[in-house]
Amino acid sequence: MTAAPAPAAAPTVPGPRRGRRARSGVSEATRRQQARLGVLLVAPAVVLMSVFLVFPVLNAVYYVFVDFDGLDTTPPFVGLDNFTELARDRDMWAAAWNNVIWIVLGTIGPLVLGLAMALLLWGVRRGSTFYRVVFFLPYVLPQVAVGVVWGWIYAPTRGWLNRGLEAVGLGGLARGWLGDPHTALYAVLGTAIWTATGFVFVIVLAALRNVAAELVDAAMLDGASYLQRLRYVVLPQIMPVFLMVTALTLIGGFAVFDIVFVMTGGGPANATEVLGTYAYSNAFQLSRISYGTTLALVVTALAVPVAVWLNRLQRRASTEGLGA
């Protein structure tokens, strides 16, 4: 425990050489004043986080081991029953599988599109601000509004997507995209990719600005093709940032909720149910509060390895001076 404060305090010491000397030059009275002010300044944040974050998290851990119905003040202890039920729950596995599809496609889609768009804009000067603002816009919009609009686009008879398909002679594919269990998940995913692409795009574009132009020039003089330059010169330089975006998009995929909830509510016939919506409906619609909480905690725990990986990437990126 004695070693613990060191890593936490380390990054906050302002300039390694000066800080040390300045601190030892500080008088005892000043130090006491600093301690008092420090406590006062963190107090509001600490109080809020204790009440509205730590306490409910501890409660969540408690809920997992009891069977709470929302009314019972002394819910019965059930041990690991919630977990064994979870393992046997077919609907849960169906939701988990949808979540896997979501995470895979919902990560690859924005990464590929965002990278392609960033490469496309890289080096373009005229209108570059306009494009940046436009491409990032979907990510800034409230997901509810996004869901509403895409609902019209996917609508069966008056939807723009079907209309567009007819216009190019693919009218046979027309359908109610959100009402058809075979397409609903992919339709919602399409909307999610539309919003997340701008996020990847902006971060990759910022990373591209730090790419050493001399190396790319040199590779071009050596006769490297576009793809070779991309593969051997450009991508390695933006890789740390690229991996970070990957991790962030992955983490977002685990706890996806808003967009699915608004567009389909998990339907039709559970075709778009993901762990987030399944946990919600268990806890708040079926009053299976302990079970819903268990699901929510499991979803969170699944994302932890990715979060740890992300943390490691960030630390490496900042030691290499790449932390944008």
Partner: protein, 281 residues
């Protein structure tokens, strides 16, 4: 200058590249254009000619959403939920960020781990027990309670964000201030805070957008419907009967308009907020 740009491109950015970008921008913007166009069409035109863009002009959809659809009160509630929670986040984060960056104080390690904990645990993990906690505290359907929850969801990030700004300031400032006889509080309030106002501004814009867009917190903790914000109002609007697309489009426009305006005007701050939120963690 333009060397950097040209270096990678096979030649000058050609017409093909500009055309592709313009097409992509069009696709990206299309849903937003659809909202604006549908809002401004007449009710009859929306029904008869769903695929016409800007084919008529009328404010009746906006009027219906505003009066019949209750979007006037939703708008007010959105303000009542976003502005106070944003202020709490900016003030509390600036204070805590300074303490973590510059002050030695007892309990610092514990407090620091609390912040890191908040960065790692998503709202989703504890939303269910928080509902029952809010119920027993009498904070369901309360502006104060929901504002405090909204603020707490952004507090860890805010503290982290402001800490970085304070950590970058040179130590000479402190020493000079102390030699002039300033107290530690005066040092914070009169010397340090004025130097990080740009950071506070970026944090305010970013936090405001997050709170404005938040859907799950009011959905869960405003069950009575007394203070429904725009996001929740819009959701209930589609959930109800089969709605006319026209007023729904108008409601959507009212919901996104403040976001779009703020983003377009302050796009540098907004993007910077999202970038540092992501890249620095």
């Amino acid at each position: 200058m333009s060397r950097r740009g040209r270096a990678y491109a096979p030649g000058r950015p050609g017409i093909g590249r500009h055309l592709t970008l313009a097409l992509l921008a069009l696709i990206t913007l299309f849903p937003v254009v659809l909202v604006v166009s549908t809002t401004l069409k007449s009710t009859q035109d929306v029904r008869a000619n769903p695929f016409g863009l800007f084919s008529s002009f009328s404010l009746e959809n906006l009027d219906t959403a505003w009066t019949v659809g209750d979007f006037d009160s939703y708008l007010l509630n959105s303000v009542l939920l976003s502005v106070p929670s944003t202020l709490i986040v900016v003030v509390a984060s600036t204070m805590a960020g300074y303490a973590f960056a510059r002050l030695p104080f007892p309990g610092r390690t514990v407090a620091f781990y609390l912040v890191v904990f908040g960065l790692l645990v998503p709202f989703f993990a504890y939303m269910v027990p928080l509902y029952f906690q809010m119920r027993s505290m009498g904070l369901l359907d309360s502006l104060i309670g929901v504002n405090l929850v909204l603020a707490t969801t952004q507090l860890s990030f805010g503290t982290w964000f402001m800490r970085a700004f304070f950590a970058d300031l040179p130590t000479e400032l402190e020493q000079a201030g102390r030699m002039d006889g300033a107290s530690e509080w005066q040092l914070f309030r009169q010397v340090m805070v004025p130097l990080v106002t740009s950071g506070m501004g970026a944090l305010a814009v970013f936090t405001f957008l997050q709170q404005w867009n938040n859907f799950l917190v009011p959905l869960l903790y405003m069950p009575g419907g007394g203070y429904r914000p725009l996001t929740l109002g819009l959701y209930l609007f589609i959930g109800g009967r089969s709605v006319d697309i026209g007023p729904l489009a108008a409601g959507t426009l009212i919901t996104i308009l403040p976001v779009v305006v703020l983003y377009v005007v302050l796009q540098r701050q907004v993007t910077a907020g999202f970038l540092s939120g992501a890249v620095k963690g």
